[in-house]
Amino acid sequence: MSSPKPAIEVADLCKTYVVRGAATAALDRLSFSVAPQEFVSLLGPSGCGKTTVLKIIAGLTAPTEGIVKLEGHTVLGPRADVGMVFQTPALMRWRTAIENVLLPAEILSLDLRKFRGRAKDLLDLVGLSDFINKLPNQLSGGMQQRVSIARALVHDPSILLLDEPFSALDAMTRNQLNVELLRIWSERKKTSLLITHSIPEAVFLSDRVVVLTARPAKVMDIVEITLPRPRTPDMRVSPTFINLVDRLGRLIGLEFA
């Protein structure tokens, strides 16, 4: 993965919050990069500032120091070619599934007639073709998160940022959505950055895993995931998988000791 121009490049990122006169460091000289079409996970303990990294990459927050480049361009503010999936589905309760998926196209003033078909295809891709006209409160939590994944893809962004998208779901739904995300990624090949605190999730999905320390977050290690692709659910019990989970667990466990 030594592409000449990384899709995401994070260099010496520092973020310090000042709360009531006292400065707290959230990020400490964070550096890593993601190659085009690569799937990278940021793994770290809860509250270590992973979400802050994502917000800086999305251009929603400015870093205190350091620089982020997306496809060679320095991030100075939000960019429309990024798709975001949040911890909560963050759907509009008054809109049907398809209207929620169309929201980015609407905000970007794209031709809605053209995008309607695309939104339908995406809902089909996430397995919700029978639910396109349902309101969010008629869908289960897992279904709502699928809608929000479809929404993140509708304007065809080149980069997908996922902020612990499955952490609020039960284990079974979570595993199922991991498999689906894998399928979506292999079909659409978006550069993806996933934030998670689930080690199996990170191993199952990623090409590489960036392990962060507790606050202030530093890069502890970057682990290459040597599982072959295409990946299948039964790989979760393969020796390679178990070894990698064990290795990452030790890395994170060491930090807590």
């Binding site: 939000p78 963050a90 509009m92």
Partner: protein, 261 residues
Amino acid sequence: MNATGVGQIVKVALSLIVFALLWQAACYVFSVPTFLVPAPSDILLRLFEKGGLYLTHTWVTFYETLLGFAFAVLGGCLAAAVIVVVPALRDVIMPLLLIAQIVPKVAIAPILLIWFGYGLAPKVLIAFLIAFFPVVVNTTQGLISVEQELLELGQSLKATRWQIFWKFRVPTALPNLFSGMKIAITLAVIGAVIGEFVGGNRGLGYLIIIANQELDTPLAFAAILVLSVGGIILFWMIEIAERYLVPWSSTGDANIEMARQ
């Protein structure tokens, strides 16, 4: 209307009938004088004797109520929008609103009469003043309660302030607006009646004052009955509108739940 709703209505109707019957029986058994507490039969009799009279006065009172209510909703939405869109004005507007809310409307009603005369204007104004506050407070709350992550999604797509307001904030606030309107309509009825109490020659409030002066208690009770029924009907109309216009609100959730069972 589903089975649960019908059952609810039957229950309420039955309890009202039982209450009226007990009242009737108590008046009969203890031979309570009509000018003190009229029996339900006296009240109904009075109501039907003077049907035309009630129609005129009811129309006047509810005309004042609806006008005051309409101004309260329009003004309340406008004020809420200004508070949310221009946060700097919030600190100016909120204290003024609070003062306007705290001043007892009954106390300023006579002054408003001096200023605006004995016609329609002071009644509408009092109804407006008393109904305005819940609309502002609820709508403001709704406009600012957009989910943080949804706002971030908007920002990440470079949504304009206009888009954030109309596509994100306004629909989020609609259920709150309806909560405010439900409180406001009941208050607007009170406001209109206060206005008529203080000075006027028309309306149900005026009718109650006259009835009291003549010790015609059944007439007063009948006016109160009409007032209450009218208020409840207005409240229901807003609730029905809410069910159709904001089916996703909390009441809407309950409806979906009921439909599933």
